[in-house]
């Protein structure tokens, strides 16, 4: 075992980590674009076609699975086009390819640089783009297939609506990733936000779903403002919003940064990536804007899997990777990214440990893993971050779809205290196995894809002398991750067989709404036997229906994908792609000896495999002991006995550290008060003075003459007042 591990590790080491200074591919030529293959247009084009066709289905009131097959077909075509484009792109490594489609916004007010504004529908194809598009289109195809069965209860208008937003999402995501300018990226950025809004609010009659959708959109908009200001600053500084031209204009600064003279770069240039970061944190659910993602689980599970785990939420990571040249020109941007990422990873993991809703646990783990990716970018292993995005996309989609299958089969039940031993039930073997593979990946079990990708980030953190503390945070979080992941597995999927159907079957108020989002109000001990009996009676007629062929096929494919996602590590596939794109990390010349961080005197790249394997194993063992050994029912486990030890901490974590309440109290309530005051001021002061001066609104039916004479004074007075205010402000500002 150890032998095999070290053998594999050495194979991998010889092949990969770029920071080791091993042979790297030639630096990419940034700022030059050659003509790309037209088939690339099909990648966004086919999903758009699907959206249009599904919209026609909706208009024609189609009540069959036709929209699903249209979408699956178009997305599969997009995936094929992505593969083909990928081959064309890697054929010319280091050279970006462009395809122009349609002129969009063009302005010109002079001949000099910076005196024209051009944003087109054009594609920018390099290896970073194609890495993203491969897993986006591939996973979208599979999840669309899965959803064809999952959403079947809603055939008709709902089904059409679902697939319309689904296809539109893939189109928007393609624009985001493939666009050749920041404005098109922004289009995709907000487009995926819209689809996310529509899909979170899919069950639109449910107030909690509507609220969650709104929250997601607004939280994202806060980030979008940062991105928009960053785009404007980029334009003002570089005179363009096109990637190629930005990179060209930024090249001198990058050279400065490479020479270690980062202090000489103008502050405004350094500010651009910081503004981008605000956008990235909104879209990718990082502190302080992460609170929308857990609530986004109100959407149908395939949506959670595709949008809120695998693809959309990685857009922030893509943005940072795409503009890594600018990030490396900034003194603050990367430390902000790194520490926010690590902080989010830890915070979300602590919340995830204390939740009872398995889908929410997965949501918090997504937030946490996104934190890892940002930490990876921050410590300058863009390859590690991108690889973690890639592996995470597979295993998290697997986990979500597994949870979805459970939810589907048990009438919406997601409480881990009400399910046990699912994997042993008839027809649930495939799901159980898939969940095991997904959990192993997430927990960072040796030789899994998740293990390798997490390692790249951890090792790089320890290897960097300034990020030792961050490395420890991430390592500790890895242990927590392993624990909460297997807490779900040991409680829900193995152990004694037990189930209680969810509230989609009957009015069962014990779960879900009405508790302010605080699932698990009773820590498990509130479930007295009498109650269990009552619910057992209610569940008497209920039989869980095992997943059908579509779900099983997709689960198998995703499981295989999760396992095979480890293979690219061995051939250093992702580092090769990243090095040939703008996400390549430039080497910074140091004045003196190149400082290199160590892990207790060892090279982190060599020992991190063992360390993280041990940490992961400890987490799994804890989960095993606390949630599996000696557990006889679903509701309680040994872990409950430990709760008093932690005092209020456990309760606080269950209540998500009260961050939502904190925001509500600190931002929403004051804003609401201000709004009401403004409204009142508008009614009383600005308008009321006018009315006071002689307007009788209720004298409607009576003689107009009296009214007019009365009102004329009033309005003349009001006008004079208004004009006086304007003139006063003008005078103050002018003189």
């Amino acid at each position: 075992m150890t032998h095999l591990l070290s053998h594999l590790a050495s194979v991998a080491l010889a092949a990969s980590p770029p920071a080791e200074g091993a042979a790297r591919a030639a630096a990419p030529v940034l700022g030059r674009v050659v003509e790309g293959p037209w088939t690339a247009v099909l990648i966004p084009g086919l999903p758009l076609l699907a959206a249009v066709l599904v919209a026609l289905c909706a208009a024609g009131r189609v009540r069959s699975k036709l929209p699903a097959w249209i979408t699956v077909g178009c997305l599969a075509g997009a995936f094929a086009a992505a593969v083909q484009t990928y081959l064309a792109v890697v054929h010319q490594p280091g050279l970006a390819q462009g395809v122009r489609v349609l002129e969009w916004i063009h302005l010109s007010w002079g001949e000099k640089p910076g005196q024209s504004f051009a944003a087109d529908f054009g594609l920018y194809l390099d290896s970073l783009t194609m890495l993203w598009m491969l897993f986006v289109t591939g996973l979208a195809t599979l999840i669309a297939l899965y959803a064809s069965e999952y959403m079947a209860h809603d055939l008709g208008a709902g089904y059409n609506r679902f697939y319309f937003a689904f296809a539109l999402f893939v189109f928007s995501m393609s624009c985001l990733v493939m666009g050749d300018n920041l404005i098109l990226l922004y289009l995709g950025w907000e487009g995926v936000g819209l689809c996310s809004y529509l899909l979170i609010g899919y069950f639109y009659k449910k107030p909690s779903a509507v609220a969650a959708a709104k929250k997601a959109f607004i939280m994202n908009r806060i980030g979008d403002l940062g991105l928009a200001l960053g785009i404007m600053l980029t334009f003002v500084q570089f005179g363009s919003v096109r990637y190629a031209e930005i990179f060209e204009a930024a090249a001198p600064y990058l050279t400065l940064a490479g020479e270690g003279r980062i202090g000489e770069i103008p502050l405004l240039i350094q500010l651009i990536p910081v503004l981008f970061t605000v956008g990235a944190f909104g879209k990718s659910a990082q502190l302080p804007l992460y609170v929308w993602l857990p609530d986004a689980m109100e959407g149908p599970t395939p949506v959670s899997a595709l949008i809120h785990a695998a693809t959309m939420v990685t857009a922030g990571v893509y943005l940072v990777a795409r503009f890594l040249p600018l990030y490396q020109c900034s003194t603050w941007a990367l430390p902000i990214v790194a520490w926010t990422g690590a902080g989010t990873a830890l915070l979300a993991a602590t919340i995830g440990m204390a939740q009872f809703d398995i889908k929410r646990i997965m949501a918090y783990s997504t937030v946490s893993q996104l934190g890892y990716m940002f930490a990876g970018l921050g410590v300058l292993t863009s390859a590690g971050a991108a690889y973690h995005v890639f592996t995470h996309a597979f295993f998290k989609a697997t986990l979500f779809l597994g949870c979805g299958a459970v939810m589907h089969g048990f009438a919406g039940q997601l409480d881990l205290r009400k399910l046990s031993g699912v994997a042993f039930m008839k027809g649930w073997g495939i799901v159980g196995l898939a969940m095991l593979v997904g959990c192993l990946n997430l927990a960072g079990f040796p030789f899994t894809a998740g293990f390798f990708s997490k390692d790249m980030i951890l090792a790089e953190a320890f290897a960097s002398p300034t990020y030792q503390a961050l490395g420890w945070v991430l390592l500790f979080t890895a242990g927590l991750t392993a624990y909460y992941t297997f807490r779900v597995f040991f409680r829900v999927f193995i152990g004694p067989k037990f189930y209680e159907p969810g509230d989609e079957l009957h009015a069962h108020d014990d779960h879900g709404h009405g508790h302010g989002g605080a699932h698990g109000h009773g820590d498990g001990h509130g479930h007295a036997p009498a109650k269990a009996k009552a619910t057992a009676d209610a569940a008497h007629d209920f039989h869980p229906h095992a997943p059908g062929w579509a779900i099983n096929v997709v689960m198998v494919l995703l499981t295989v994908g999760s396992i095979l996602a480890a293979y690219p590590y061995l051939i250093s596939w992702v580092p090769g792609l990243i090095d040939a794109s703008s996400a390549r990390v430039i080497e910074v010349a140091h004045g003196g000896e190149h400082a290199h961080g160590t892990f207790f005197g060892y090279d982190p790249h060599a020992v991190m495999y063992y360390v993280s394997a041990i940490v992961g194993a400890v987490g799994i063992i804890f989960a095993f002991v606390l949630h599996f050994v000696g557990r006889t029912g679903a509701a309680t486990a040994k872990a409950d006995a430990l709760l008093p030890v932690f005092g209020p901490l456990a309760r606080w974590a269950q209540n998500k550290w009260y961050v939502d309440e904190f925001y509500n109290f600190l931002v929403r309530v004051p804003l609401l008060v201000i709004s009401h005051v403004l409204h009142l001021a508008d009614k009383l002061l600005v308008d009321g003075l006018v009315d006071l001066a002689g307007f009788m609104p209720q004298a409607a039916g009576r003689g107009l003459r009296r009214q007019q004479t009365g009102a004329l004074n009033g309005y003349a007075f009001g006008m004079v007042l208004g004009v006086g205010v304007i003139a006063a402000i003008g005078a103050v500002l002018l003189w």
């Binding site: 916004i105 000099k112 404005i183 907000e190 009659k205 409204h679 002018l734």
Partner: protein
């Protein structure tokens, strides 16, 4: 041709009272469709991107020669785009009223058509008094529409609307008259600058009484001192700011919008508010560029107040129509902000904003009107979750809300982003950063843009709050409709409407939806069309900017700058 654009609705209005009651609507629809066809032919049938495009269409006839009044109509791409918007909303306003208005239909359609003619006239007038006449005349039909066909508080709203805007425009008239007086009495036609101007464009009338727009603009912008311009601009601002409306003279708008019949609200939001921005853009800035520049920071501040303040006020409304009405104040804040950036991005964005706001907000008012027809309430406490009852309507509502919220890919985004970008560029802060290439300098700047940018978040807050209440959530319908829920409003006199939209209603909304999408994805033709007009405004301001510094050496100034300065000094 241009005259026909005004005459067709007017003639139709004359025919309407003669038509039998049943077919009044159809006659009005026919008239507006003919006007639309003509406007479409003029808009699409030629290339508007040249500097002199549309000059051949100009119409000029002596009106009151002793006063220097000329009946002069002219157009350029910018004016034409707004004329086209007016013509487009014409048939839509008529068609949306077929079931909503069943009493006194002749008066209704007649005034609606007169209103369209007046608005078209404003955009085409090239004589200041003619402009003013059309501008003021829009008040009369609107007053009638609100006071006769509005909802409960309609009389108050109509009077308020009329007197508020009337008072403002009287002050504007003073400014116009002063400008004409200045041209007649303070400009010497023998002055070399004046001669050069007349030589360049022989149509100009300098040193004599005239209200010709181009002449007054040439005279005032060249000869009037910056201080005088400041006052004249203030006078014009009084008229136009009320119409836009800018904070703090906006309070007539929520009431007028709320009480007006649906078509009235659509016209009000779609076109009437644009008369204010159009007046600022085409009249005020061209007349007093130096005054406009001096006023830019103040107006920027008022815009920010509108964007943030009115936005927040939207968020606490319970009347859905009032919410959309207040959102107009916030949206027009963006529009005016872009205009006063005085650079390409800003002014282009501002002009596009006029069109786009007309489409998306007009459509939102249509959607709300359809609800009002069915439930006779606009309160978000009484209606909710209508997606369950009216899926087609809900689809349109979400679509237009997204256009309004500025979602990229739809029309609102292009204009909003350009306005913000223009404001961002227009900062003198960039001048102190030598490596900056994209800054244009001006009186706004990145901080203004950042504060205005919060308007994007606030817009999402209030518009999604509206969607969350009216479209989504559990179904809520007014109680008295319980037995008639399938047929909506159960008032005997009115035709019953099905739960979801009728084909006519879809036909009203669909063209707007298509345009929102097209202008969002392919705004290029429209941008090219309005570009000459935009460049003209910027050139006027640039001219004032280069003329102003008194210390500038004569040798460096362009041909007309130095003598103009001398005249300015003399005028003081």
């Amino acid at each position: 041709m241009l005259l026909a654009l005004i005459l067709i609705p007017l003639l139709t209005a004359a025919v309407v009272p003669l038509a039998p009651k049943r077919s009044v609507g159809q006659v009005a629809l026919l008239g507006t469709l003919v006007a639309l066809a003509l406007a479409a032919y003029l808009t699409l049938g030629r290339d508007w991107s040249g500097p002199d495009a549309g000059r051949d269409l100009a119409v000029s006839a002596p009106w009151m020669p002793e006063l220097g009044l000329v009946f002069k109509l002219g157009t350029d791409g910018l004016s034409m785009s707004l004329v086209a918007l007016t013509a487009l909303l014409g048939p839509i306003c008529v068609a949306c009223s077929f079931t909503a208005v069943t009493q006194r239909v002749r008066t209704y359609y007649g005034w609606l058509l007169v209103l369209q003619a007046a608005m078209t006239g404003v955009f085409l007038a090239r004589d200041m008094i003619l402009f003013y006449v059309f501008f003021e005349f829009t008040l009369v039909p609107m007053f009638v529409l609100i006071s006769l066909y509005g909802s409960t508080n309609r009389k108050a709203a109509a009077v308020k609307f009329f007197l508020y805007t009337f008072t403002g425009s009287v002050i504007a008239l003073a400014g116009i008259v002063y400008a004409a007086w200045f041209n007649a009495n303070r400009v010497d036609a023998a002055d070399p600058v004046a001669k050069a101007l007349v030589a360049a464009s022989p149509d100009l009338v300098l040193g004599r009484w005239t209200f010709d727009l181009a002449s007054l603009q040439a005279a005032a912008s060249r000869f009037m001192s910056a201080e005088t311009q400041w006052w004249v601009f203030l006078a014009l601002l009084c008229g136009f700011a009320v119409k836009v409306p800018l904070v703090p003279v906006h309070t007539w708008l929520p009431l007028a919008h709320t009480e007006a019949p649906t078509a009235g609200s659509v016209v009000l939001a779609g076109v009437l508010l644009k008369l204010g921005t159009y007046g600022l853009l085409k009249i005020a800035i061209g007349l007093c560029p130096a005054g406009a520049m001096a006023w830019a920071p103040t107006i920027g501040l008022l815009c920010l107040l509108g964007i943030v303040g009115a936005g927040l006020i939207c968020w606490v409304q319970t009347d859905v129509k009032k919410l959309v009405a207040y959102s107009s104040v916030a949206h027009l804040g963006f529009c005016v902000l872009g205009l006063f950036a005085f650079n390409d991005a800003g002014v282009q964005g501002s002009v596009l904003y006029m069109i786009n706001h007309g489409l998306s907000t007009g459509a939102l008012f249509l959607c709300i009107g359809m609800i009002y027809e069915r439930y006779h309430t606009r309160s978000m406490r009484e209606i909710g979750g209508l997606a369950a009852r009216m899926p087609i309507w809900a689809t349109f509502m979400v679509f237009f809300t997204m256009a309004s919220v500025g979602l990229p890919g739809l029309n609102g985004f292009v204009s909003e982003f350009l306005c913000l970008l223009g404001a961002f560029q227009a900062g003198d802060v960039w001048r102190s950063h030598p490596l900056t290439v994209g800054g244009t300098g001006g009186n706004l700047g990145p901080y203004v843009a950042a504060i205005a940018g919060t308007g994007m978040i606030i817009a999402a807050m209030y518009l999604l709050y509206m969607l969350g209440h009216v479209v989504f959530g559990p179904l809520r319908e007014p109680h008295h409709d319980e037995h008639h829920s399938a047929s909506g409003g159960a008032h005997d006199a009115e035709p019953r409407l099905p739960a979801d939209l009728t084909a006519r209603e879809i036909g009203v909304l669909a063209p707007l939806a298509v345009l929102c999408l097209v202008l969002g994805v392919y705004p290029k033709p429209l941008m090219r069309m309005v570009d000459p007009g935009v460049k003209e405004v910027i050139a006027a301001v640039e001219g004032a900017r280069t003329q102003r510094p008194a210390t500038r050496p004569v040798a460096e100034g362009d041909a007309g700058a130095a003598p103009a300065l001398a005249t300015q000094e003399a005028a003081r």
